[in-house]
């Protein structure tokens, strides 16, 4: 298998499939057992400095922000993050010095809301390094290969570009078509955290709306923390097993956290908190502003519940629910 072209990017989170099987054999329990814990316990137990971490959801949608804020509170360091359309999560983690390396599909931006002053500053000053580039499909396929337990997935994108040059891919000649084909390496994040609508105490999870990459990410992550709007009985799960997107044997910890994705959106539940995002985007223009934000929303509170209170509590959440139901108008305080 002659490699005709090889990306210079760092190969992050790849393991030999046999080595990963060995990990799965000894570390992923197939036993139905109560996995409930607090975010504080989950982050303390599962995330260590230097880990390669990945968020579920997409952009500002269904991200497990309660875990992100706990990582910040516990001041984890030297984390590598999957920049798989990672926006607010990545921005505050990089901006606050927890994440210092990123493999980028989409990062350092808040989509339509503009670029991320804080994390861009870190990259442009060399405090955070981009160790590899890829694309959204590229990341998706890293996870898909991981889930399948194979070393790589063939693909027909990235080739011919600097994105490939800075990626961890290898280009070979496909023996079936005789054409070039890109081999995207599997990814097995050390820890992933996925926010879901509901699950039972064992971690059998239901998600409403689009799944984005969470089906695959849940199955390839070495450790998986599920955070959930609500814990429901296993009986309900078993009544409609076709709704289970992530079964319990992929799950290591279950954290119940109402509004756990704030300020991100949750399908059918609550809208983006544009005021909060705007506050961050404004404050994060300076290092002092970042400190001010952290002092208030991260270190100034004990847990995510207190943070929600600080953001406006039930009154704010009621507004965000109304917004999600399109009963009140969109506000865009980050607009210039």
């Amino acid at each position: 298998m002659e490699v005709l072209y090889e990306g210079l990017g760092q190969l992050i989170g790849w393991h030999d499939p046999d080595e990963n099987r060995e990990y799965v054999l000894h570390n992923k329990s197939r036993e139905l057992k109560d996995k409930t814990m607090t975010a504080n316990q989950a982050v303390g137990k599962f995330i260590k400095d230097g880990d390669f971490i990945a968020s579920g959801g997409f952009g500002h949608v269904r991200v497990s922000m309660n875990i992100i804020y706990e990582i910040l509170r516990q001041q984890k360091r030297n984390l590598i993050m999957a920049g798989k359309t990672a926006v607010h999560d990545l921005d505050i983690l990089v901006g606050n010095g927890c994440v210092d390396r990123v493999e980028v599909a989409y990062s350092f931006g808040h989509e339509i809301r503009g670029l991320s002053p804080a994390s861009r500053r870190m990259v442009e000053s060399g405090k955070c390094r981009v160790v590899a580039e890829t694309s959204n499909a590229g990341y998706q396929w890293r996870f898909l290969a991981g889930m399948l337990g194979i070393p790589f997935l063939p693909s027909r994108n990235l080739m011919g570009t600097d994105t490939a040059k800075y990626s961890s891919c290898k280009v070979v000649k496909d023996p079936f078509s005789g054409k070039l084909i890109n081999l995207i390496p599997a990814a097995y994040p050390d820890v992933a955290f996925i926010h879901v609508h509901r699950c039972d105490i064992y971690g059998n999870c239901q998600i409403d709306g689009i799944l984005v990459e969470d089906f695959e990410l849940a199955r390839c992550a070495r450790k998986l923390i599920i955070t959930t709007e609500q814990i429901i009985s296993s009986d309900v799960i078993r009544t409609e097993p076709w709704k289970t997107v992530i079964p319990f044997y992929f799950v290591d910890g279950v954290v119940e956290q109402r509004y756990g994705s704030h300020p991100c959106e949750m399908h059918g539940e609550y809208f983006f908190d544009e005021e909060h995002i705007a506050e961050w985007l404004d404050l994060s223009k300076t290092d002092d502003g970042v400190k001010k934000y952290s002092g208030k929303y991260i270190y100034g509170v004990e847990d995510f519940g207190e943070y929600i209170e600080l953001c406006g509590g039930e009154k704010k959440m009621f507004f965000l629910k109304e917004r999600q139901a399109m009963r009140v108008s969109l506000i865009t305080p980050w607009r210039k």
Partner: protein, 261 residues
């Protein structure tokens, strides 16, 4: 604004209208947030009611009661035909089910290659941009890619990209095929505030198709670092009707979040 439309409208409205006009009824389009989404919806509300809109995060064929502000937002599957996954839609994209894709970029070169990664050196960039996102995927897989560049200038239409994020025709004819990218793909149109461009069939270089109303050839050339091909025949870009603008302003983006007031 450099052009003088018959009916008063802003650049973003003009671009959305122009993009919409390129989309065919009964075809599929991969859209990102902002102008591409508006172009797609405008096409649906005018000449292409049967245009299939797909979002990279999994939303397929929604009926949109308001404008989504993110490609992953719940609205992207609101009354859709499917609420699926990136696995599903990116696979379909690679397998050839996506006819049109939209891209934007900080820099673009004569072959329609795009930079959305960084300005300056990759390792310590002067400006770090978000990276590919789904752009490299769209540029690799969509049958026809439409590039929107709302601020054409010598700084954005460059001879050499600081970083080639998403493939246009790379370094010319045959280069995409040689690199291993799917056949019969590549940039189709470029829409800026000044004009609409295509690509020469033989050289794969960017070529003027139509000037927006009131724009001169000099303006196009003055706002481009590379040699823009100017064919003998080019036209003036069609303008939106009052009805088009009414749909844009009243139905699609009444708060003006994307197209401005």
């Amino acid at each position: 604004m450099s052009y003088i439309p018959a009916i008063e409208c802003n650049v973003r409205e003009f671009i959305a209208f122009t993009g919409a006009g390129m989309l065919e009824n009964g075809k599929s389009v991969f859209v990102g947030t902002g102008l591409p989404m508006i172009a797609g919806i405008l096409a649906q509300k005018t000449h292409a009611p049967n245009l299939l809109i797909i979002f990279e995060a999994g939303g397929v064929g929604p009926i949109l009661p308001e404008l989504p502000i993110s490609v992953g937002q719940s609205l992207t599957c609101h009354r859709g035909v499917a609420a699926s996954s990136m696995h599903d839609v990116m696979a379909s994209c690679q397998a050839g089910f996506i006819d049109y894709g939209f891209l934007g970029g900080a820099q673009i070169d004569m072959y329609g290659n795009i930079n959305t990664t960084c300005i300056g050196d990759h390792n310590l960039p002067k400006v770090r941009l978000p990276g590919s996102g789904g752009a490299n995927d769209i540029a690799s897989f969509a049958n026809k890619t439409i590039i929107i560049a709302a601020s054409q200038s010598k700084r954005t239409f460059v001879n050499k990209l600081d970083f080639l994020t998403s493939p246009g025709y790379l370094d010319g004819p045959g280069a995409r095929e040689k690199a291993g990218l799917p056949l019969s793909t590549g940039p189709y149109r470029v829409i800026t505030q000044l004009a609409t461009y295509g690509f020469d069939e033989n050289t794969k270089q960017m070529k003027l198709i139509s000037l927006h109303p009131g724009v001169s050839l000099e303006e196009v050339q003055d706002n481009c670092s590379f040699d823009m091909l100017i064919p003998e025949k080019y036209t003036i870009s069609p303008e939106p009707s009052e009805k088009d603008l009414h749909i844009l302003r009243k139905e699609i983006d009444p708060t003006g979040i994307m197209i401005g007031k």
